[in-house]
């Protein structure tokens, strides 16, 4: 759900149902890294409501598009994290394997 004014699309509050700090804080981070964003923050209006509000104010671009880009960025970051992690685990396995082999040789 998006709340904002029709005249000025550069400021809006987005309300996500069934989300919490997990997504909101990560999105806030990735939006604040975007030079087009002049303000971004989030709040959880009530702890027993599964809902989080994200406020986005930009320097001119539509807030909706900037938010979408922020999520896109976060997604690409996650994909990178995953590939690097898998590579690190593989490396660790290979090293352990080699160590085991040398210890057998000894």
């Amino acid at each position: 759900m998006e709340l904002g004014s029709l005249q000025d699309p550069s400021k809006a509050t987005f309300s996500f149902v069934d989300e919490d700090h997990t997504l909101a804080n990560a999105v806030r981070f990735s939006l604040n890294q975007d030079p087009r964003v002049s303000f971004c923050g989030y709040s959880i209006p009530h702890p027993s409501d599964a809902r989080v509000n994200i406020r986005v104010q930009t320097t001119g671009d539509p807030a909706r598009e900037v938010l979408k880009d922020g999520c896109q960025n976060l997604m690409l970051m996650c994909q990178h994290v995953r590939s690097i992690f898998d590579k690190a685990v593989d490396d660790c396995r290979k090293n352990n394997h080699m160590e085991m082999e040398t210890s057998i040789d000894d």
């Binding site: 700090h21 997990t22 804080n25 976060l74 990178h80 994290v81 992690f85 685990v89």
Partner: protein
């Protein structure tokens, strides 16, 4: 104002300050940006400066571009065993590291016993307490092979795993303990017959499996069953008996902790211990003795002189013992690196830890994707 101070004030001009090269933060700001500094009473600079324009006036771009993130992000696996792992994640913000941690604990699905059909229980332990204990047993079954069971679904081979427990302690025998290994997996579904009024209908059970689950294979070689064999479920006295069926379904830790795939998952920032001045001789000995986890070593620098060195900063628990007392905070600085996380995952047994982490990252990706599709 004294005359001397006056002249000093006059002499001081902003133009006399050393130039800070453009595109580089002055050292004190760089420290504030990248380190948490732990003082004797409380840590300072604990917040992350994430606003992209925070240093715009100094000509410094504080935004993180995907490219620079890709170049700087590193993972190093420190320890990897069957059910726990430790790794270093370098070059990522706490906001994202924390999202991963939160997802690991409360949003990764696993299978856990949700429904217990008790046919007979004459043991000391009450039905509801026994059911609760059963629920908390980690089940080694790959949750990715199953679907969620929603309120008006019938339990079938895609969303339910059925276990049977039938144990008895015969009269005249010593008391016995019931272990989780005695839960037997029923790949063909429930064996309890539902009572129905119509006598002529085919007898139905509490699940409606259309085929056996035999073909389902865990990622590890372990068959579907409790992740641990020796979890005590109950104790039986002579003549007591338990007969029940337990139905495990898919769920997430947010609903109930029994679905959490990790015993726990946590991270800490990399400690950095810095000696601000040379600590020598007796003071060096004293410093070495102060630290309970042996962070400092002593090296010989010739002429019978000794100097303290920081040998194992990673072991530092930040007890702040070494900066207690007069003058010590001028010799030692305790810091934490803001973008270096020592991440530890302890798996409860459903999936190995090196699978859990990528799954958690995938869930964050899915969340982003959901937002994007909802907004477009």
């Amino acid at each position: 104002m004294s005359k001397q101070e006056n002249t000093e004030n006059k002499k001081f001009s902003i133009w006399d300050l050393p130039d800070v090269p453009m595109g580089q933060l002055p050292p004190h700001l760089q420290l504030q940006r990248t380190r948490v500094v732990c003082k004797a009473d409380a840590p300072i600079h604990t917040d992350n400066i994430i606003y992209s324009g925070a240093y715009a006036s100094m000509g410094i771009d504080n935004s993180v571009h995907l490219g620079s993130f890709r170049d700087n992000f590193k993972v190093e696996v420190i320890r990897l065993t069957k059910d726990d792992m430790e790794f270093d994640m370098i070059g990522i913000d706490a906001a994202i590291a924390n999202s991963f941690r939160r997802i690991l604990i409360s949003e990764l699905p696993t299978m856990a016993i949700e429904k217990v059909l008790i046919a007979n229980n004459t043991s000391l332990i009450q039905d509801e307490v026994l059911s609760h204990r059963l629920g908390l047993i980690p089940i080694s079954a790959d949750p990715r092979l199953f679907e969620y069971l929603s309120a008006n679904d019938t339990p079938n081979e895609k969303n339910t795993i059925v276990f049977k427990l039938h144990v008895r302690c015969k009269r005249g025998e010593p008391r016995r303990t019931v272990y989780s290994e005695e839960l037997k997996w029923l790949p063909n579904g429930s064996e309890f017959i539902k009572e129905s009024e119509k006598v002529d209908t085919k007898p139905s059970t509490y699940t409606s499996f259309t085929c056996s689950q035999d073909s389902l294979q865990n990622s590890s070689s372990k068959p579907i069953g409790p992740a641990e064999d020796k979890i005590i479920l109950a104790k039986l006295g002579p003549g007591q008996e338990i007969e029940l069926e337990a139905h495990a379904v898919k769920g997430i830790g947010k609903t109930h902790a029994k679905w959490s795939p990790v015993a726990t998952a946590w991270y800490r920032m990399l400690p950095e211990v810095v000696l601000l001045e040379d600590v020598e001789d007796e003071t060096a000995e004293e410093l070495k003795k102060k630290c309970p986890v042996n962070v400092f070593d002593i090296e010989d620098i010739g002429n019978g002189k000794k100097r303290a060195t920081v040998a194992r900063p990673r072991a530092c628990t930040l007890c702040r013992e070494c900066i207690r007392g007069e003058e010590w905070d001028k010799r030692v600085a305790l810091r934490r690196v803001k973008d270096h996380f020592i991440f530890t995952i302890e798996s409860a047994g459903a999936l190995p830890p090196e699978v859990l982490f990528p799954e958690a990252v995938k869930i964050l990706e899915d969340k982003c994707e959901r937002v994007i599709t909802e907004l477009s």
